[in-house]
């Protein structure tokens, strides 16, 4: 359902062959699970014949267009096109570098647009409508659209500029690709925000583009039982249908807070009761006093639960539900391009030679590593810088510096 844009980065520095095929997938992990039409890039490159359709259902793809894309994408592989060679990268900030890199990349698009458009149209034509939940669904969608528009400003302007640069470098349908790229970025940001805050209330943003799933009506077997039927014992009462049907609507609601407001009680406005007190830096005496009070109050744990609470406070026990990023809250604020585009840190190294080659491999590996913080990556690079500066003489003897 969503695009998979494979960016082939070819950086030709004279004398050194293209080092890495850098593939960045800007899809979310959720979406990759949902792609019903998943195209494997290797398979893509094999389809050179114009008449052959893949066994994958592609009713709307134009195979000529695909073959053109294949030729385009295979050309930089052979290293023939040197039209977009950058010899020197002048000292720029990371984000300007990002722009440069993106404009220098070759882009190969590998999905079917018309099929997707059809699918999205179909999904929007079939909303499941329940009479009770009609209001909430429409209001939810309205909220979703307004929030989505409001979210446009949350993307940083550099990212927007980069997206427009990429779209302008693509061969066809620039406005559509740009909008889709921006959508991807927005989704990425919203997902990270949701993940950070742990909110599940504002899922309107996320579900705005999702397919409306068909709601299997579990109550339908009860409907024929609506009719009066006589019990076998002859007592004359029907099955307990009345109770079932009355609470049907209530049961269908998944949470307590959906549904129409009755406006019986006035909504409480929480005034700012606690004025912000002036908190100065606590002195050592204050700390000592607090520690003493805590020591007096704290009793030895009476049971296993209190023991586990104490251990969790000490940090000996993990916090449940397990958070995979327990110690790394600050790291989620770091934008993704600082992890991936580390080229700007290579300024102090020589521009040619085996040292540069080595460092580019190091940076390639670091950019693919999701487990390190940006600080740790920087430390690695700095260590190498110092090391090579110390060993300058040895390197000059072997003509490597």
């Amino acid at each position: 359902m969503y695009r998979r844009i494979i960016l082939l980065a070819t950086r030709n520095r004279s004398g050194i062959s293209p080092i890495a095929e850098h593939s960045i997938n800007i899809t979310n992990q959720q979406e990759t699970k949902r792609t019903s039409v998943s195209t494997c890039p290797n398979r893509q490159r094999m389809h050179y014949n114009k008449g052959v359709c893949a066994p994958n259902n592609r009713p709307f793809s134009t195979s000529t267009a695909l073959s053109k894309e294949n030729e385009e994408s295979s050309a930089p592989k052979t290293g023939v096109t040197e039209a977009k060679v950058k010899e020197e990268e002048p000292r720029k900030s990371g984000k300007e570098n990002l722009l440069d890199l993106l404009s220098a990349m070759k882009v190969g698009v590998t999905t079917k647009k018309k099929f997707q458009a059809l699918k999205s149209q179909k999904s929007k034509e079939q909303p499941r409508v329940h009479p009770e939940s009609m209001e909430s669904a429409t209001s939810m969608f309205q909220k979703a659209t307004t929030e989505q528009q409001a979210q446009k400003e949350s993307l940083s302007p550099e990212l927007v500029a980069a997206a427009s640069a990429v779209a302008s470098s693509m061969p066809f349908k620039k406005s559509q690709t740009e909008s889709e790229l921006l959508q991807q970025l927005r989704k990425h940001e919203s997902d990270t925000e949701v993940h950070k805050k742990g909110e599940t209330n504002n899922i309107g943003n996320i579900i705005a583009d999702m397919k409306v799933g068909k709601h299997p009506n579990a109550r339908s077997p009860n409907r024929p039982a609506n009719q009066i039927r006589f019990d076998d014992d002859g007592r004359g009462y029907t099955h307990d249908r009345g109770v079932v049907n009355e609470f049907d609507a209530v049961r269908r609601r998944k949470s307590l807070f959906t549904g129409k407001r009755l406006n019986i009680f006035p909504s409480t406005t929480d005034t700012t009761e606690t004025e912000p007190k002036e908190v100065s830096v606590p002195s050592l005496w204050d700390i000592e006093l607090a520690g003493q009070i805590a020591a007096v109050i704290k009793h030895l744990p009476r049971n296993g639960f209190e023991e586990m609470i104490q251990w969790t406070k000490d940090g000996k026990l993990w916090q449940y539900p397990i958070n995979n990023e327990a110690g790394l809250e600050e790291e989620s604020d770091v934008p993704f391009h600082e992890h991936v585009f580390l080229d700007s840190h290579l300024e102090d190294f020589p521009k040619q030679g085996p040292v540069r080659h080595f460092m580019e491999l190091v940076i390639n590996g670091l950019s693919k590593n999701p487990y390190l913080t940006v600080k740790q990556k920087m430390e690695h690079i700095e260590w190498f810088r110092e090391y090579f500066q110390q060993k300058e003489e040895v390197l000059k003897e072997s003509e490597a510096y």
């Binding site: 020591a295 030895l300 085996p354």
Partner: protein, 141 residues
């Protein structure tokens, strides 16, 4: 006040003791604030040495990784790699992770240790038979 100062002195002394012997810190405070020394021991000196090796391997892990990246390379010149060989050999011997042995946590037994529970087979069997291991049941099929 005096009690506070005393407890602080005792606490600092205990910390020094800890760093020299590297025992587990189980010092607890009673209601008056005096430190009750609850000693923790490692099972034997071999376990202690293994602990030291693990700590040192953690310290030197990054350096070793970078040096090995320079050594195991076909790009950099060989003279540099030879120098890197000598440098990595100059690191303390306990800093290499190969020297770490996964001992049993309870008995410090070096062999027959299951990695998931960090226990030797004997201790594991003892605990499992007394129903202390969650989800472990005698196999029967």
């Amino acid at each position: 006040m005096a009690a506070l100062m005393l407890s602080r002195v005792v606490k600092s002394g205990f910390e020094f003791l800890q760093t020299s012997f590297r025992t587990t810190s189980l010092a607890q405070r009673c209601t008056t604030g005096n430190v009750e020394q609850v000693r923790g021991y490692y099972v034997n000196w071999r376990m202690l040495r293994d602990v030291k090796r693990r700590q040192m391997a953690f310290e030197y892990a990054n350096d070793r990784l970078r040096m090995n990246a320079i050594r195991k390379n076909t790009i950099l010149p060989k003279e540099l790699q030879e120098i890197a060989d000598k440098e990595i050999a100059a690191f303390p011997r306990d800093s290499c992770p190969v020297r770490i042995r996964n001992r049993c946590v309870m008995t410090s037994r070096p062999r027959g240790v299951k990695r998931r529970w960090r226990l030797s087979r004997i201790v594991f069997r003892h605990l499992a038979d007394h129903n202390q291991m969650s989800g472990i049941q005698r196999a029967m099929w």
